[in-house]
Subunit: 284 residues, 2 copies
């Protein structure tokens, strides 16, 4: 990634970087909410990326209280999956309501994969914009900002038919930036030949709604749930990509979000410490 | 993929399709050459995609004789990897010489992954065009047609920094189609939002040099060497993609190329039969 010059993360030093640090609960393997919050707050982080699974059995209001009691803010709530299916739409409404209750900066939205039995990728893609617009209406009423996340092309069949920043930006384009943007997750986008251009484009429209960092371990052959590693343990130029986002005007939180079977074997506090250390090593 | 109309594979029926069928030796797990050729010729195929590993211990001339004795032609020779490294360039020259001796329709070229320790993807990509031009000089003297293969973005770090048809076409653009084109491998390109446009672009310049088909099993989570399945066992619209290639003027061989740990447990003849059946089921 060029340019590396002028990256705001580094320039004012560790204090500014610390204010932007967020740790996503899935990095800890999504333990029960209080365990996750204890571990993340103990690192000095002031922000948390939250998965809905972590507060199962609580109301969102109770979860919001627990987050506040730990001195934390919710940088993102993961997640809702687009669909015209009635059940899924009802779930998306609950997700929007939760994001509102939690004061989440954004609600992360995934496009979903191919419908079962389908070979019609173009058709599935064509339906995403409409489903997103429907959700944006609901979110707009609740004052919740949506963040559509393109996933790496290896997840196109199973998880998201939106696989590039360009696609995601095409979909959120009709909405003002304060209502809808994209998630820039370095694991998902690092390979994209258009990455630099599309980050600029996103910045111009205030469309970078959330940033997540991870790393890509060099050899993918062992499967995706070991491929996603802590920043610094792989080949992604996280500093360069964050510098590009900053140059494009992004000043928000930077979440460490990892899915890694090996990491998940460790206690939450140990993982949170590693996530915090890897954040500073990668960006400062 | 649209359009499905007018696909030459289907229209004139099984006889025409059979004339285009090629089976790649790696589908059989690259057994010794004679075993591979016996198994492939027994299916009625008249073409074979050959990996250099299969004739280890033979000269290319001896391998060419064995291929001819089985009534087969070489649709592609796999493969050489681009690099400025002296050792690799010497190997590439041998690959070009082998392709000439074998009368291979194309020599498959991979860009290679990131250099060890490097985080500079843009830099690695910038060097590919120069290395390709160097190889094209060597190939041109030998009358060998090169086929640059973009690999799926999940292989960007380890195997190829060229990950889209657009990138590959940008690189082969300066050369006439009869000297250099691209490999359209459905497993590598099916996810690409630009696929239809770039197939058209490739066809206009006679730049579709080889076509390979496989399938993508829906759940990628078990790792890439089980993700690549026989045509029909996954979600790729192989018929639609082949129809697009045909509409763009491609009339050459269609290779079944699979890398699959489960498949490789079976005897070569059984695998070759399955490859042949899957080819007709997917395209006729």
């Amino acid at each position: 990634m060029a340019p590396r010059a002028g990256h705001a993360v580094n320039a004012p030093g560790r204090r500014v970087a610390q204010a932007r640090l967020s740790i996503n609960t899935v990095t800890l393997g999504n333990p029960p909410l209080l365990d996750a919050l204890d571990a993340i707050a103990a690192t000095g982080a002031r922000k948390v990326g939250l998965w809905r699974e972590t507060y199962d059995g609580m109301t969102a209001r109770q979860a919001a209280r627990a987050v506040a009691d730990h001195g934390l803010q919710v940088s993102s709530l993961c997640r809702c999956v687009l669909s015209h299916d009635t059940h899924t739409m009802a779930d998306s409404r609950r997700a929007v309501d939760d994001a509102h209750q939690l004061g989440a900066a954004v609600l992360v939205v995934l496009a979903g994969g191919l419908p079962p039995g389908s070979h019609d990728l173009a058709g599935a893609r064509a339906r995403v914009a409409e489903a997103f617009a429907e959700l944006a209406n609901v979110a707009g009423e609740a004052g919740v900002r949506l963040a559509l996340e393109p996933l790496h092309p290896m997840f196109a069949a199973s998880r998201s038919v939106v696989n590039t920043l360009r696609q995601a930006l095409d979909i959120v384009e009709p909405f003002p930036g304060e209502r809808a943007g994209v998630v820039l997750d370095t694991f998902n986008v690092w390979w994209d030949p258009e990455l630099a251009d599309q980050i600029c484009r996103a910045g111009l429209g205030n469309k970078i709604a959330a940033v997540q960092i991870a790393d890509w371990s060099r050899n993918h052959e062992h499967g995706p749930f070991l491929t996603r590693a802590l920043p610094g343990d792989g080949i992604i130029d996280n500093l360069g990509i964050i510098a590009a986002a900053d140059s494009a005007g992004y000043r928000g939180p930077i979440e460490v979000e990892i899915f890694n079977d090996d990491l998940w074997q460790q206690p939450p506090r140990r993982i949170a410490e590693k996530a915090m250390s890897s954040f500073f090593a990668a960006l400062c």
